[in-house]
Symmetry: C2
Subunit: 436 residues, 2 copies
């Protein structure tokens, strides 16, 4: 249980906190208020909000007052916000549909701020792979250290699963099954939900959103990208019934253009492992299974991740493990390979089990909090990571660090191929999409 050890970031750093300029924080409501804001509050020696930009200046001013952001300035224009030298890190937490139109000019304007080092963007970063490529290129050219909120990688369950896999507890992975539910995309739609999330091209569809986060987690745990993939995408529910706060139908139907089901199958590059994945919209009865189930089978054991909601990155999960610890692939000497194998491949007497669950873990906030912790670990190097680079392009499958816009771009390329496989009816080779 090393991977999940507490970050040393609680140590007060010698230098002052990173100055954060925030786009998309409002005292009224929203994701940033529920996650980024309390995470920054809890890491007040490491992060301090010094600048705000909202399209309505009045909302930024009211947010500063309501949240008592005494060190923060509200900027009237994106250009002025971007140019402020009192900002070390910009966080962009707005709808994906606006990412491209905000990020491209933002990055350009930040050339006036010599102190800016970090750019933290909310997944999906863009609504298409073309936009994603441009945003990535602009940030790379600007020399910023980027962070993407693929925060599922920071889930303690994901990290523990990754540790068990890395240390040989399930042997060689030989098959994986994933079944999940994306609540939004079913037969009913809450009247409270905005319409845009049900429209294609907003970065909020079941493939970009539910599948994107889930498959990123899977690749991260297994340490492998995909070789071949095939997908089928369905919009079997072109109209949804509107429901009120009590879940009662109000007798009105609304159109839905995003898909409600994704069938995906493919092979992991590492080990040619077959993966079967079915992501379904809505909250069906599903009495006999959880809304998220990831089964990872290996030659020496099994892992099961289960959650009540299909959104793995914001759900509190349960991790089940059963198996026999094999040789640690990282530490086993090559000499050991020539030793004779035991007469039986699976000795039940050596079997161990583990159920890993943090009863009160708030995954919505917790995973974002841990992402901020990782940024602080990197900036202050409080964990004394050896050979820490001044900047790192991508996290890939490392335990240290955080996912970057490059990781997000690779995921966008996969999602693009998922749609393409469906459209042209082909199995596709995606083994080259992880090249920078």
């Amino acid at each position: 249980m090393d991977y999940n050890k507490r970050s040393a970031v609680s140590t007060v750093p010698n230098t002052g906190p990173l100055k954060v300029g925030f786009i998309g924080l409002s005292y009224l409501k929203g994701w940033a208020l529920k996650t980024h804001y309390p995470a920054i509050l809890q890491l007040s020696s490491q992060f301090q909000i010094t600048a705000l930009f909202n399209p309505q200046l009045s909302e930024a001013l009211a947010t500063i007052q309501a949240l008592k952001l005494q060190n923060a300035t509200a900027f009237p224009t994106l250009e002025a916000f971007a140019a402020s030298s009192n900002v070390d890190m910009i966080v962009v937490s707005i709808q994906s549909a606006q990412h491209y139109s905000v990020l491209i000019p933002l990055i350009e304007h930040t050339k006036a701020n010599p102190n800016l080092k970090y750019l933290f963007v909310e997944w999906a970063m863009a609504c298409s792979v073309e936009e994603a490529e441009q945003i990535y290129a602009a940030a790379a050219k600007r020399g910023l250290q980027t962070i993407i909120s693929l925060q599922g990688r920071k889930s303690p369950y994901v990290i523990r699963a990754k540790e068990l896999v890395s240390e040989g507890y399930i042997g060689d992975i030989n098959s994986i099954e994933i079944a999940g539910n994306g609540g939004w995309y079913g037969y009913e739609r809450s009247v409270k939900n905005p319409n845009f999330i049900y429209e294609m091209g907003q970065g909020t569809d079941i493939v970009t959103n539910t599948f994107g986060h889930t498959i990123d987690i899977l690749q991260y745990i297994t340490g492998s990208y995909f070789g071949r993939i095939n997908s089928m995408i369905f919009n079997n529910i072109p109209q949804q019934e509107l429901i009120d706060e009590n879940g009662a139908r109000i007798g009105q139907k609304v159109k839905k253009s995003v898909p409600d089901h994704l069938l995906f199958q493919g092979t992991l590059l590492r080990g040619n492992v077959p993966i079967s994945c079915s992501i379904k919209g809505g909250k069906p009865t599903k009495k006999f299974t959880k809304n998220l189930v990831i089964d990872i089978h290996g030659t020496k054991g099994d892992l099961k991740l289960e959650g009540d909601a299909g959104f793995a990155e914001i759900s509190n999960l349960v991790l089940y493990y059963c198996g026999i610890k094999g040789n640690d692939p990282a530490t086993s000497s090559t000499n050991l390979a020539s030793l004779p194998e035991p007469s039986n491949s699976y000795d039940s007497a050596k079997e161990i089990m583990e159920v890993y669950h943090l009863r009160n873990y708030n995954a919505v906030l917790g995973n974002i909090f841990k992402l901020y912790e990782s940024i602080a670990d990197f900036h202050y190097n409080t964990r004394k990571i050896p050979n820490l680079p001044a900047q790192f392009i991508m996290q890939g499958f490392e335990v240290e660090g955080f996912p970057t816009l490059m990781d997000a771009l690779i995921l966008h390329r996969l999602i693009d191929n998922v749609y393409r496989s469906h459209l042209i009816g082909s199995t596709l080779n995606v083994s080259n999409i992880s090249r920078p």
Copy 2:
């Protein structure tokens, strides 16, 4: 619970039993001895073995003696066996690899027997779709009523599941997930098992065998063939470790050319339902799931079929149901369709549950026994089926009757497309393969 009501076949028919000529029954060992023979014994008023053919005449003679088949004659040649007018029904229970070379001349020679009415062939009927087409055509031209041992259709769990679906207990099916294990095709091979089952082209591979039976059951329950399909097939275990009777490895490896994993996904023609399916070789630890799981989700409820072995057609299963009975699609008047829907689509207060399990059901014998029962029901019409045809070409998705060589041929066409989809890397339209 109408579909599973006891067959009226226990009534002694007015006429004598059907005279059965058997190819492949041996007193020494084998599938026929464990299944067909006791089934015929239990239905002795309906079936009587009158002829035997084995390549070794001595084995046929010894079988007659050992099993006390007092009415049976052992024939020295296939031609003489086929021509015997003391046979109403021929059962062919031999290795699939021999089906073509035996069935084609057999059917030709039976032209000398005017009394022959039935031909009962073991699945897989052939080792390729080309052979299957020829065998089907020969039997059809000969005018025989054929039966194929896709006996999973006779499993009481399958029939109960079909009944629940047909009567609206899960509403409209909207997604299906299948995960199964085919024990033979894993890391280890028992020294007792013959080598041919691990070689391609024998009709014993994981696609033809495990997947074939399972997907036939699924189509039968849902009442639908497939629209589009995609598959990926793996031979990740090209060598197996030989193990002795105690499961210990004896330190010898043998080649395996059949696949050890099938990924399959597709859409049901009826309702464009997404289906995800992963069939894996071997007996992995799989502590957190059963070796066979079929999840059928609908708008009003869920069905789950679980088994300890991946071979659904010979396993005792458990059927779980939870949901709300909707309108019976078969009986609901079209006028009802215009009535307003209730304000909530799923009223938990009306939810019902059912766990269906026959503690002592011997599925290996039982499903074959029920197939013989169905043949007797047809022949003697003991159930007084209205409008019973003199011959029927295929069972399709009917409750009455039994699967025929036409049903087997359609399944072979699907299997052929599964291999083709893998080979050419395409999603295929298979909506026309069920045409006679």
